[in-house]
Symmetry: C2
């Protein structure tokens, strides 16, 4: 792929360039490609269909703008850095022959919910930047075993690069560093999404997938993993996709450094009301409220509480614990609503005692990442 | 003070050695001195009286075993380490002449609530290791200004030593390192407790007090502050008074290192039901439930929820926001209870969305620090 192709890409009309695009996907902006999943679809599907799964690419792979798979033949992923041997190249065909592991898991943009913060530029995500999918592929651990790779004990991070290129010569390339522990414990080189070969638009043929981390850390079109002692100073890792370690006031200026901020690694605990949608008009009587909730998968959710009186009382929703700790919990509850305008609030609590603050803006940050506030919808009952 | 005096101290009868001791204090063990505050007294007093305030000393100052103040005259505290000038000695009399700052604040042993964990040796604290007091003294910041002390930007920790000595020649001395930021921001050299000269037993005449931190970090009988780039490798700082960074199973063996654990610095969010006490017998009808709640003071408490049906429903308690962010919130609520055995649970939530897990044992650690579980009492209603 030439740089020319990348440069020209930014001016193409997106609607025609994404083969197999479904008209129900909401195109949120033209460059770079962003597709949002409508709430109604999230509510319908326990496993989010690849056709409706959100897309958020910082940069694209020109031939990857498709819901079809890309060929695995000839695709190479290399391991380099503080490892022995110093370089290992894994061919796509070899991956196919190895045992596969599958995770049902949240895929979520760290900017999901950004529209709840005030005055922040960027993709105006509400809750369309999340899905619950199944990724399958080869555990990195198994690859290290097969190729007799030893990782130096000094390695603290694994930096992942994709085959995608910047959207212009003046732009920095995109990559992310992940803490080595979860990578060695559970990362896979994913080849499948929901049981089918991974579509190009979702990072196929090979994507680094580590359940429990935000989508930006699930690096697409995987080309190289670097085993290193420090985090990458790359623009998108050292400046973007970070949140301050201290609390800011809304609108406050902040100059990100590695020391005063951290990457958007672990998914924040969250719950959403998917039915009824905000603005819905309902009939008086028993109303069913349902939604999803999840955290980073490190511990189970303890409860989902729902309030029909702006936090005066909270009743527990019913939910089943999913088989995968990284998947979302679907929850439901009922209440008898009288005519009038009602707010319905949801709040998950996990076994570590982490919950959603009433005012999620307390975590205001210049890029609007990691929204985790109590979820609120307003409905009219007649 | 000679080492001999310290060695002999551990065999003295505590009840007679603590002058001014009130019979309502509960002596929990003889050596070292531990005094617990009865629940009834916590419930009665917004500001915990010095006579009833818990005492937990790793080691004692022989002449300090008194509720009376010790003389400030001749008491010297020195500042050393990466500062200019390299050593500053502050005499007690000079502190008296400077402007004083006062904090209403939680004083809490990091082992408070230890009895809720199972099978952990140590002081069997229930909720008697906490109080709400007023400490007043001279801000360290003002002392640095007055003596033209500049702190090297490389300083990351301030290590505090007291004049107390180990309870035996073979034992390590006691000291703690605190992060430099809160120390420079709000630490005081405390001279007063609840408006009166600081009693010897509570660390007088000079104690390092940093609101928001656990009691063990409020170093008594302050002798020296060391401004350093690293945490102290001292036994009580590097091995004791730490919690693992990962979750352990109850009873799991753990070898503490600086890398796999952190000090018990910031007070954990907590709520207590003080009335009725567990085991109380009540009359059927409207029952008033009241207690206290607090966190590390970094953000305000958002709500205190109380459940009378083992977590099925949660109602908000009423509380007033105290003037000091470091003080406890007193809360109260009511419910109509029918005859039978009832559990009453309380749970605080703060503005960061931190709350108490239903099962506090998820944070099980070998020394039983930082209990933060949902608080539960059982009462019988007739």
């Amino acid at each position: 792929m030439s740089t020319q192709a990348v440069l020209s890409k930014s001016s193409r009309p997106i609607a025609t360039s994404l083969k197999g695009k479904d008209s129900r996907l909401e195109v949120m902006s033209a460059v770079p490609l962003v597709l949002s999943t409508p709430v109604g679809l999230l509510a319908e599907q326990t496993i989010t269909d690849k056709k409706y799964l959100f897309v958020r690419n910082i940069q694209d792979l020109a031939e990857g703008m498709t819901l079809e798979p890309l060929p695995l033949e000839g695709w190479e992923t290399e391991l380099v850095g503080l490892i022995k041997p110093f370089r290992v190249v894994i061919r796509g065909e070899e991956l196919l022959e190895m045992d596969q592991a599958e995770y049902e898991m949240i895929l979520q943009c760290s900017g999901n919910g950004r529209s709840q913060y005030r005055g922040i530029p960027g993709t105006p995500w509400d809750q369309g930047g999340v899905g619950n999918v199944r990724f399958a592929g080869v555990p990195l651990k198994a690859i290290l075993d097969k190729y007799n790779v030893t990782v130096d004990p000094q390695v603290k991070y694994v930096t992942a690069e994709g085959h995608d290129l910047p959207m212009g010569l003046e732009k920095p390339d995109f990559e992310h560093s992940l803490p080595v522990a979860p990578v060695l414990e559970r990362s896979i080189l994913a080849l499948k999404l929901n049981g089918e070969p991974l579509p190009g638009i979702h990072g196929g043929p090979v994507r680094l997938v580590t359940p429990g981390l935000f989508g930006t850390m699930q690096v697409k079109w995987l080309r190289r993993l670097r085993f290193e002692t420090a985090e990458s100073p790359n623009f998108y890792h050292a400046t973007e996709y970070r949140v301050p370690l201290s609390l800011l006031k809304a609108g406050e200026k902040f100059r990100f450094t590695m020391e005063n901020s951290r990457p958007t690694w672990d998914i924040r605990l969250m719950s959403y009301i998917l039915e009824p949608e905000s603005g819905a008009k309902l009939k008086a009587g028993v109303v069913t409220v349902s939604g999803v909730a999840y955290n980073d998968g490190s511990v189970r959710l303890e409860s989902v509480l729902v309030s029909f009186d702006r936090g005066q009382n909270w009743q527990p929703a019913k939910f089943e614990i999913p088989d995968s700790p990284y998947a979302w919990y679907r929850w439901t509850t009922q209440a008898n609503l009288k005519p009038g305008v009602h707010e319905i609030w949801s709040r998950a609590i996990d076994a570590l005692g982490r919950t959603q603050p009433l005012e999620g803006s307390i975590f205001w940050n210049p890029n609007g990442y990691e929204w985790t506030g109590v979820f609120k919808v307003e409905v009219t009952v007649n």
